[in-house]
Symmetry: C2
Subunit: 210 residues, 2 copies
Amino acid sequence: MIQDLKEEYGDIFEEELINEIVQVGTFKEVPEGYKFMEIGDYIRGMPLLISGVIKILREDEDGDELLLYYLEKGDTCSMTMACCMGDKKSEIRAIAETDAKLIMVPIQKMEEWTAKYKSWRNFVFNSYHVRLNELLSTLDNIAFQKMDERLIGYLKEKSRVTRDNIIHSTHQDIAYDLHSSRVVISRLLKKLEEMGKIKLHRNYLEILDL
Amino acid sequence: MIQDLKEEYGDIFEEELINEIVQVGTFKEVPEGYKFMEIGDYIRGMPLLISGVIKILREDEDGDELLLYYLEKGDTCSMTMACCMGDKKSEIRAIAETDAKLIMVPIQKMEEWTAKYKSWRNFVFNSYHVRLNELLSTLDNIAFQKMDERLIGYLKEKSRVTRDNIIHSTHQDIAYDLHSSRVVISRLLKKLEEMGKIKLHRNYLEILDL
DNA sequence: ATACCTCTGTAACCAATGTTACTGCGCAGG
DNA sequence: CCTGCGCAGTAACATTGGTTACAGAGGTAT
């Protein structure tokens, strides 16, 4: 755990803070598909991602989903901070997109470290505005792009975070993430295949040239 | 200026910080329609809103607009912080929705005060997560609601921030904010009028019962 | 009053997306 | 090997929202 932590966060946190994190944090190793957090859950801790990818989803009352963004190593979830500081329930769902390692830090430490460590303060501010910009760009996609462009963006982004030009998803999976329907996605994927940009298979697809 | 500042921020900032703000801040009084910031502008300062309402808009490459949210008294613009910490250009446009008073604080002070004053730190964190939640709810509206619901939400929100159940906008104005077209908005407004929820006039409309 | 300009109402039409329904394929388990 | 189930392909159709076009209403400047 300590090595992992140092490797990923050693450059940005001072020695003393790293030690504190090791003291109070809980190391977790979770498999793909693990659900960290459900909408309405109370937040117990704040995650520091060491490896893997976590996807953050929004859901409305009717159960319609929408992918907000991915967390990658070195990231934390600002939503978590935003929520716990207002001691509210989670507004989002978090699911491991790949196997992942992370450290959970009790939220009480947040405040304390914010006052004590400049590096922690910077880290938290940085997370906030990375997330703000991420949300903004998600909003752009939804507001200004058509489904075909969003789909291409989705495939690119997913391929980027998983470092794999094979997308291991069914059409239905993709439809959920983009808040669309299976038929629509199948239709558009077929077009992309006809254009030679991807190759379709059962349960997965290959990205050729997006 | 000092009275205004104390009245609005006296409860949350300590005396010493208030004094510093007065020292380095510039008081500004601007009329409705004043454009504080354009997309691509470099950010010179951070606004502390004392009275009035500012609307924050997003725009894509083609010039299509979208209302993100309103800033009200006591608010500041987290986008500004997010941008200036990465010494980047503004991602948004800010326009006075009503006459407004505010204080501009040079961005260099941000960092300094964040280390020095707990109240400032809390204020900044708080702004960040209020904005995150605001953006999230904007996203919800766009992703999960149809135009008619979005329109109703827009009218309610606009009426709330301006404390006026008369909306002084043309159909075209509304269409811009919602990133739709004039004809569509006229169509939907007519339906709302038929349902007895609003009353239409030239250049404005009354909210009866939304 | 006249001319002009902006705003609103409305119809006809189009494109994108979502929905329903049915087909067949491939794979896993008995 | 057969069965059943989940996944993908496809067609027909509905709905929403956007576009174009035009007419009339209200207000303003000359």
